[in-house]
Symmetry: C2
């Protein structure tokens, strides 16, 4: 029988009642003839509670013990989901990561899945079991210890199972009903997309549209797993939600598919840095060591032999960045006149695979912002994305104006 993977996130299994509602959705797919692999997260709030226990016990915790503790939430949901399905007369059983086994690297708390043998579960399917419920987010290291994949890792578990079992589709049930052209809270004209390309989803995920864990999208792209994002609370049909798929499956060819934004950005400028070969490494090495996630970088030649270096990073990492840079200055590794931090900026990005073949997208974006009187502070581009930093107070206006300019409300 064809295999379907269905993943339910924390809010979709937050109570016994919601587990029952999720189980009913599984029952619908079983009735259609699918053998189903259900991947579950912990009941919402549980993982945070356990992480809190660990942090309070040991601020610099042993990641192996952290994993042993926090993985328990998924085990509870897996057992309860199997029991719920059995109550509906659907043959089901639960698997914990080590029972499958989901083999991962030893990088505790950020492990990568290396192999998922499918013989155990397939043998049970052959015996008449219809649903395998698997605890998401966890695996087992070569040393036989429990690992976890990092927050949101259940998405990655789901895609990895879909690849290992050659599933027809991987449905990610969550609390939103799909991927939108932009955040509906910012623009009332936001439209749900029926389809989006893997590459676009990757840009949107890393830009802060936290619908799917980035790694799950990368994995789906590599193994060409059809990935669907849909709501646990809405209608259930084969074309609900948004399908994340190969770009060849997308007929429409717009230059821009969506407008993403990130509110909590900061722009930092090192004024009058002594320019010399290796200066970028001397600046960004210490920042990386300090755990600062540098995003956009631009360099201006201000005067002969001196340069201004500007970069962006999340707002809450500004203090860390300032400390790392002033220490590097004290050690004599870099030399600059002044460090200016602008903590009132936002990042706006237009994303679309159509940009590859259509020109004029950047020009249209800049013209639209200019017409609204919005000053652009930094520009960065990739093959399918154009990002700008602007004053935060113009963020909503910019999103709405760009959404209109690229006619994203139209189907």
């Amino acid at each position: 029988m064809p295999v379907l993977v269905m993943k339910f996130g924390g809010t979709s299994v937050a109570t016994l009642d919601r587990i029952r509602r999720a189980a009913k959705r599984v029952g619908v797919e079983v009735a259609k003839g699918y053998d189903v692999i259900v991947i579950v997260s912990a009941m919402s709030g549980e993982t945070n509670k356990l992480v809190g226990f660990v942090n309070e016990t040991s601020p610099l915790f042993d990641a192996r013990e952290y994993d042993a503790v926090v993985s328990s939430g998924e085990n509870v949901t897996a057992g309860l989901m199997a029991l719920t399905l059995q109550e509906m007369d659907i043959p089901a059983r639960s698997w914990q990561g080590w029972q499958v086994p989901v083999r991962t690297t030893s990088a505790h708390s950020a492990a990568r899945i290396e192999e998922i043998p499918n013989d155990n579960i397939n043998a049970k399917f052959a015996e008449g079991m219809r649903v395998a419920v698997v605890a998401g987010f966890q695996g087992i290291s070569p040393e036989g210890r429990i690992t976890t994949l990092g927050r949101g890792g259940s998405d990655t578990t789901a895609v990895a199972f879909a690849a290992a079992f050659n599933a027809e589709r991987c449905d990610i049930y969550t609390d939103v009903d799909g991927v939108y052209t932009t955040d509906p809270r910012v623009s009332a004209k936001a439209r749900k997309l029926d389809k989006i390309a893997f590459e676009e989803m990757l840009e949107l995920a890393s830009l802060g549209a936290k619908v799917l864990q980035t790694r799950s999208v990368e994995l789906a792209m590599r193994y060409n797993v059809k990935l669907r994002v849909l709501s646990s609370f809405g209608e259930q049909s084969d074309d609900a939600g948004t399908l994340v798929c190969d770009e060849e499956e997308i007929m429409e060819n717009r230059p821009v598919s969506g407008i993403a934004f990130s509110r909590e950005e900061a722009k930092m400028t090192l004024v009058s840095v002594a320019d010399r070969p290796g200066i970028a490494a001397a600046i960004f090495g210490p920042l990386s060591d300090a755990g600062v996630n540098v995003d956009m970088i631009i360099q201006n030649i201000a005067e002969a032999g001196r340069t201004d270096m500007t970069f962006s990073c999340p707002n809450d990492q500004v203090l860390r960045a300032e400390k790392a840079l002033s220490e590097a200055k004290e050690r004599g590794e870099i030399n600059y006149k002044e460090l200016i931090a602008d903590k009132d900026v936002a990042k706006i990005s237009a994303v679309g695979i159509g940009m590859r073949s259509q020109s004029g997208v950047a020009a249209k974006m800049f013209k639209t912002l200019s017409a609204e009187g919005i000053n652009i502070k930094v520009i960065a581009t990739s093959e399918i994305k154009i990002s700008v930093l602007i004053d935060r107070k113009y963020m909503e206006l910019a999103v709405q104006a760009l959404h209109d300019a690229f006619e994203l409300e139209k189907d």
Copy 2:
């Protein structure tokens, strides 16, 4: 290095603060030179919460899924205890049942431990690890699924590890500071025993003094594990609490070591049963099938060919017993005139290995009760125990009188 097993129950690990206090006790033993195996229960309340989830999800649950769900509480405590010990610079790590592995039968929710290989943990001790923290109450079946040992099973886990590692002693930390001559809430003269024989402890445990799980005492007796019960909240010394040990290690030779009682008993009498070979089986077979725990049984010949049959059982099983017996009567398997249930009785027992060699214990017990005007309804005896059923209203009086008569307050 010599090995010590230390087990901490649910109230001893109820909060992070209590886990820290328990860890300090472990640290004291490590400083003395022991390699320590710590067995932990779930934080108190957790197992009940999980059992509640299972019961609400599926009243007639699949015990394999029940086990997968409820075992998670111990895993959390094991990880947190290992982290706490590491914070104290004590090399420690956690093991879940399947990691050791604790091999059990497949009798889910009531599994028996069959084997505990000690090579994994001993290899870590050899590398310098000082504390192995093991999740109690759980194991793995021959089919590779998680099993649990039944409520209170962590005591059994502790004793089984003590046997497998040839431990010097197995310390059970709980919320009472030892085994008493009787319940201090009933008699202010109750005295803590320094030592008690395995056989006596078995009788006390099954009589409702819920200090230790019965199976853990049986196991300790079979493998001659020195078992100590002591409080997590009191002083820590080598002779704190009560040592449960072989009777040969006990010098004092009293006829009676303790007075146990059980408040929630019922006495049931089948009046004028047609007497014939096999009648006892015809009565007690259906009761056993109905899950009634019959304790004492006595049979009186009332008239030729008829007999009265009396038995005791827990108060809350009376309805179930009545239903099973009336159904057996309808099926024509048994015949009786009347079924009388007396739900206002209590059981009092005098327990002591000294009874074996000293006569007159029963006579003294009956005389004492008689002097207080207490009528005895049923008597049952074993080699080291005399039990009587009396009206419940006299229970406290009887316990106090017997405690005095056998001079149990004297050291």
